[in-house]
């Protein structure tokens, strides 16, 4: 079954997505995804003596796209235990442009946070969720009621990155890679902008607290799939980057211990 657009779902299909997400939230399965994402964020992934990067297990490096593709597949699998056949839809943020604050997405997932309630969202089917958050000083997670969004007062949603960039990634395989030469880097940049525009919980390492995170990443993955249609299921580097970012390296902090970039290069189907 292909992954659908959030904007193409019928109300019945959307209700299935909500039911599945609420099901894995209430069982505690969902929060484990949030914890793993934060753990991946906190794990620097550098070569000995390497500087000039804050690359971690899942970001600022080539494995950014494969790691999140595997995460999406694992989330789908858990959701399908609640509602067979359901998949997390993609939010086509690249089409929302400068009018994103009034885009249809917010009528589905709930809108901006309420400034009188510390930007907690008070509308939509996830308004009663709790969040798992990170304490830097104690190195532990704690919980807080609600999901928070604080829309940026200026800025437009980014467009899709150029599909004409032939390289999946280029040295130095990090945030130092040229966005004009590295498709991964260009797409990760645009992805960062989306996190920061939505604001609130979406800005932190525990950003999966907001289920919009997955719809955002489903669109990131779809854009990668479009690039793969043009250039093939290719990946760089085969070797030479820090562990976890080479073609056949195991990616940490996922459910599947054996997942590698190579194991997820075949793009899923998108509607």
């Amino acid at each position: 079954m292909a992954r659908p657009s959030l904007y193409a779902l019928t109300s019945i299909q959307w209700n299935d997505v909500v039911r599945a997400l609420n099901g894995i939230k209430s069982s505690g399965v969902y929060d484990a995804f949030t914890r793993r994402h934060n753990q991946a964020m906190m794990a620097p992934t550098l070569l000995p003596g390497e500087t000039g990067t804050q690359r971690n297990v899942a970001h600022r490096g080539p494995a950014f796209l494969p790691w999140h593709r595997q995460g999406l597949a694992e989330l789908d699998e858990e959701m399908q235990r609640v509602v067979p056949g359901v998949r997390i839809p993609y939010w086509p943020w690249h089409a929302d442009g400068s009018g994103w604050r009034s885009a249809r997405v917010w009528t589905l997932v709930g809108g901006n946070g309420d400034s009188r309630q510390s930007y907690r969202i008070t509308t939509g089917p996830f308004r009663s969720w709790t969040s798992v958050l990170w304490s830097a000083s104690s190195g532990t997670f704690y919980s807080r009621a609600g999901i928070k969004r604080q829309f940026a007062s200026s800025g437009a949603m980014p467009g899709a990155p150029s599909m004409a960039v032939a390289n999946y990634d280029v040295s130095p395989w990090s945030e130092g890679s040229s966005a004009s030469q590295s498709f991964r880097r260009a797409l990760e940049n645009n992805h960062n902008t989306v996190h920061n525009l939505v604001g609130g919980d979406m800005t932190s390492g525990t950003s999966p607290n907001d289920p919009l995170f997955w719809m955002h990443h489903a669109n990131v993955d779809r854009l990668w799939a479009v690039w793969e249609e043009r250039w093939g299921a290719v990946y760089q580097p085969v070797s030479g980057c820090a562990p976890g970012h080479n073609l056949d390296d195991a990616m940490r902090f996922l459910v599947a211990a054996a997942a590698t970039p190579a194991s997820v290069l075949t793009p899923p189907a998108y509607l």
């Binding site: 958050l133 830097a136 928070k148 604080q150 919980d201 390492g205 525990t206």
Partner: protein
Amino acid sequence: MKRTRRQFLAAGLAGAGAAAAAALPVAGARSGGSASAAPPPAVDRFVHRGRQIALSHMGDTPLLQVDGRTMPPHVLSSIRVGGQLRYTSHLLPFRDEPDARRLVRELIDGEELDLFRL
């Protein structure tokens, strides 16, 4: 001889008695320091949302105290990309900032919003 982060914090931040004195770099103040050794860095002190911030550097490495408490390195770090120093935080991982003060203020704002705890 380079000082370790711990030595630096003990001598330069935690042990600094007078804010006015600490706000200025003092060349050659270290005992046993050679003439070519870098002077102790300045401490940038400011208040944001009532929190007392002390921000200094050891080379490119930022050192942050909030209300006298030293933050772990992942709360504020830096990278040099294309010759430019940019500040990063694992707590706000989707942005880099050329201005350390700005990122520190955003970290304090994030804690105020209870997105995380410093």
